[in-house]
């Protein structure tokens, strides 16, 4: 049965509390900061898509220069606070910490980053000064990580920025997509406000490109346009019975979860989640945390080919989610229009595919799973129609860029809408790169 209000208020609170709690005391942060070796040309920095000078900001924590530390972080990554909570650091900075090579626990870089940046946001430290206005105007579509990061750099350089956002809040998937136990709505709002507090950035909410405004209009009113619209909804499964009640899209499921009281969110008793990316893990764990009795993740390949990291998989396992390897959805069966079974094909591994991973091959053997809810998380599809309609060259909706510029003069793009969906930190870097291309396009020297 699909129903809401499965848990007590306390249980919801407990289940959705911060998965990576901060340092409780300054001393704890200091002990950790002092453990850092202060590497030269550090592997962690090289493994951060935004190249934060990690040894430097950690050293600054240890010298009690928290303001300097926050500045070091934000200078490279204006969403450094959010990233400290959502980045899959095990495959980024912390994954290459030299302590790993000594079989020692890597430095808790994200936790230290959170320590410095949270203080900055709490205290509203204004660490950057906006240059005097150049009179140039930029329109950015999408107030997600890519858009905000681009906006901040442009504003610093004296450009007047207007962001058009279709939702009523900023932050993009940070606010609407990322797991609730990583960031809270309040934090996302504070982060957006902190970024825009530099001035020169106006966000116009409930303004959708292709609906409320057109690209032509934007081109007329602004010197440049930056598209940072992210990717769209979950990919369809294209299997019989998919439109039954109880089959839902992971992105939508999480969107609801991030925008409503946990108790109002309905989940089934037995939930199947299809896919094993970050979104699938998030959907599975959060369904479990909302009180689903049994959650089963269905994945086409084996653990060796999984797209999520070990750390993420462990979260799902620890939450008690089951995983069925080498299984692909074949048909959804329902009674009275409501899901009651998922038929799966058993797969085996064949030759490597384009991604270099061995591809799943159907064995024609099937099995049934009794479920009352199915969450689809087999990847997201870019906004193909939207971008094609405005004549932007794209591959299956992914915008083609050269040096951040699209085929239309003065129109730039970056983030998930270009890369097809990576991490927040990649989108932040894309925003910086976009801004620097825009600045040279406008003939403004970037510092």
């Amino acid at each position: 049965m699909i129903k809401n209000n499965r848990l007590t208020k306390e249980q919801y609170q407990q289940n959705f509390s911060d998965i990576h709690p901060p340092f409780e005391t300054q001393d704890a942060a200091l002990v950790e900061a002092n453990r850092c070796l202060f590497c030269y040309d550090a592997p962690c920095t090289k493994s951060c898509p935004t190249s934060i000078n990690i040894p430097k900001f950690i050293k600054q924590i240890s010298t009690d220069n928290i303001k300097g530390s926050a500045h070091t972080i934000f200078q490279s990554n204006i969403m450094g606070a959010g990233c400290s909570k959502v980045c899959p650091v095990e495959k980024l900075c912390e994954g290459s910490c030299v302590f790993n090579l000594m079989h020692e626990t890597p430095i808790h870089i994200a936790k230290l980053q959170r320590y410095a940046t949270e203080k900055a946001i709490d205290q509203k430290w204004q660490l950057f000064e906006r240059k005097k206005s150049t009179g140039k105007k930029a329109a950015i579509v999408g107030a997600g990580p890519a858009g905000l990061s681009c906006a901040h750099v442009l504003s610093r350089e004296g450009i007047d920025v207007t962001i058009y956002e279709k939702e009523s809040k900023g932050g993009g998937l940070m606010t609407y997509g990322i797991a609730a136990y990583k960031v809270t709505p309040k934090f996302c709002e504070d982060e957006v406000n902190y970024i825009t507090s530099i001035g020169g950035i106006e966000i116009k909410y409930d303004q959708e490109l292709g609906k409320n405004i057109s690209l032509v209009e934007l081109q007329k009113r602004y010197d440049v346009v930056y598209l940072a619209i992210g990717v769209g909804l979950a990919r369809q499964l294209d299997i019989p019975g998919e439109d039954a009640t109880g089959v839902i899209d992971a992105i939508k499921f999480i969107y609801e979860l991030r925008n409503n009281d946990f108790s109002s969110l309905a989940v089934g008793d037995r939930v199947a989640v299809i896919g094993l990316g970050m979104t699938a893990i998030d959907a599975a764990t959060q369904a479990k945390r909302l009180g689903a009795k049994e959650v089963t993740i269905i994945y086409r390949r084996t653990e060796a080919e999984k797209p999520c990291t070990d750390v993420e998989l462990d979260i799902a396992k620890l939450d008690g989610c089951n995983i069925i390897w080498l299984a692909a959805p074949k048909e959804v069966k329902s009674i009275n229009g409501k899901v009651n079974q998922l038929v799966c094909s058993r797969m085996k591994l064949g030759e490597p595919d384009a991604s270099g991973r061995r591809s799943p091959v159907d064995t024609n053997d099937t099995f049934e799973l009794d479920v009352d809810m199915i969450i689809k998380a087999a990847g997201q599809t870019p906004f193909e129609k939207l971008v094609s309609d405005i004549s932007i060259i794209n591959t299956k909706g992914k915008i083609e860029i050269r040096n951040c510029a699209s085929n239309i003069k003065g129109v730039f793009a970056g983030g998930d809408c270009v890369n097809g969906g990576k991490e927040v930190v990649d989108a932040v870097q894309a925003g910086k790169d976009g801004a620097s291309s825009i600045l040279s396009y406008l003939g403004i020297k970037n510092e």
Binding site: A33, N34, Y40, D41, P43, C44, S62, S96, L101
Partner: protein, 422 residues
């Protein structure tokens, strides 16, 4: 099992670890706890004319997240009534007859005061005296403590007064707040002291509160120079000890080594440089008396491993290993070698050598890990890279002599050999 018992001027203790004259030895309750924990002996907190202390009294220097790398105090000698101290000393001796009980003294600067104090203390049954010529603060202003220790003539005079009446062994404790400890040391030995101990604390300012701008320790908006001790002073203490152990006059008497001893290893180093035993203060003020357990066990294991049966088998063995610079062998040459299997690619060796030494390390870019290797022709064998490398035995220094024969600087000059050309 090695024999770690110690005999200092005939004063026996089950191990060479004494507590230095300071707060840990200031009362019966502390001393009994110390003896119960296993300390071999104590030097009772300095007695003299009764004084009054201020609050606060201590400050410290922390380093790299470690607390109390150096410790600083502005305390005076014992502020308790002499009679209580004497009674408690007597009681402690009775309860622990196998431990050494030395009493530190700093009388007013006249013969009569010294004579009276000595007689009173001898009545307790104490095994020896330590003359405090070292306290760097508070007492000097009254012509006592370091003021005595800084002037060989005055030190000599006071030691002579003491030797006139003392019937138990006398140790004279030297202040490090001098250019060289040798002149005072010699004067005291010539005046008849039975032994020397060193060092007392080093005058210091440990830091300033960046909000109030008042240095610490803070006393109602002001501070004074304090006495510095703890791990930070050990290298200085060892150097001063060596000069005493090498001097033909001062080396005639036993030496009690003090200054930054925290572990059995530190103690062994003091013994190797000529101390017959060691005294400890800061380490117990930080950790409590229990550290003596490991000090005894560690010393014992090390002696067994090295085949030393008694302390005398190794005391002073490193003294002759410290020589004059101009006698060092210039033909001895080492170069760094990086064990690539152990290297964790932190780049610390590289940046140290590149920025501040001889640009002798090669960086080969990698993502995320660079590879570092030594430019053997450039390396001058300074040790810097090895010192900063966080991985044990990752960088080793390999001997590559410049010539087979011993060649010192004097010969080098005489032979007109070439100097560096870049």
């Amino acid at each position: 099992m090695a024999d770690i018992s110690s005999n200092f001027l005939g004063i026996k203790s089950p191990n060479p670890f004494w507590l230095a004259s300071a707060p840990p030895t200031d009362k019966k309750i502390n001393v009994l706890r110390a003896f119960e924990a296993g300390w071999g002996g104590v030097v009772w907190k300095t007695l003299g004319s009764q004084v009054k202390n201020v609050s606060s009294r201590y400050s410290a220097v922390d380093y790299g997240g470690h607390k109390v790398m150096g410790f600083n105090n502005i305390e005076l000698i014992s502020d308790r009534p002499l009679e209580i101290n004497l009674r408690e000393i007597e009681e402690c001796i009775k309860l622990f007859p196998d431990r050494a009980m030395i009493v530190s003294l700093m009388a007013d600067n006249d013969k009569k005061s010294w004579h009276e104090l000595i007689k009173k203390v001898e009545d307790t049954g104490a095994h020896g005296f330590e003359l405090n010529f070292g306290c760097p603060h508070g007492m000097t202003e009254r012509g006592m403590g370091a003021a005595v220790g800084q002037d060989p003539e005055i030190a000599k005079m006071v030691v002579e007064w003491v030797m006139e009446v003392a019937t138990i062994p006398v140790i004279t404790k030297l202040t490090p707040n001098v250019h060289s400890v040798v002149p005072t040391g010699r004067a005291c030995v010539e005046a008849g002291t039975n032994a020397l101990s060193l060092i007392n604390t080093i005058q210091s300012v440990t830091g300033i509160d960046l909000d109030t701008l008042v240095p610490n320790p803070f006393v109602a908006g002001k501070s004074v120079f304090g006495g510095y001790c703890g791990p930070a002073v050990k290298p200085i203490a060892l150097k001063m000890l060596t000069t005493i152990a090498q001097d033909p006059v001062t080396s005639k008497v036993p030496i009690s080594g003090i200054g930054g001893v925290s572990t059995w290893k530190d103690a062994v180093e003091f013994l190797l440089l000529g101390a017959s035993n060691v005294q400890v203060c800061t380490a117990v003020m930080k950790h409590g008396f229990r550290i003596v357990e490991d000090m005894c066990e560690g010393l014992n294991n090390w002696m067994d491993e090295k085949g030393y049966a008694t302390l005398n088998d190794f005391i002073g063995k490193s003294v002759e290993k410290i020589t004059h610079w101009e006698d060092l062998d210039i033909n001895y040459h080492i170069i760094a070698n990086i064990n690539q299997d152990k290297c964790i690619h932190c780049g610390l060796c590289y940046i140290a050598c590149e920025d501040t030494s001889h640009q002798s390390i090669n960086l080969e870019y990698g993502k995320p890990y660079n590879t570092y290797s030594i430019k053997e022709d450039e390396c001058v064998g300074c040790n810097l890279c090895k010192l900063v490398c966080p991985v044990d035995n990752c960088i080793s220094m390999v001997e590559k002599r410049k010539g087979d024969e011993y060649l010192n600087w004097k010969d080098y000059q005489r032979l007109g050999l070439p100097l560096n050309d870049h």
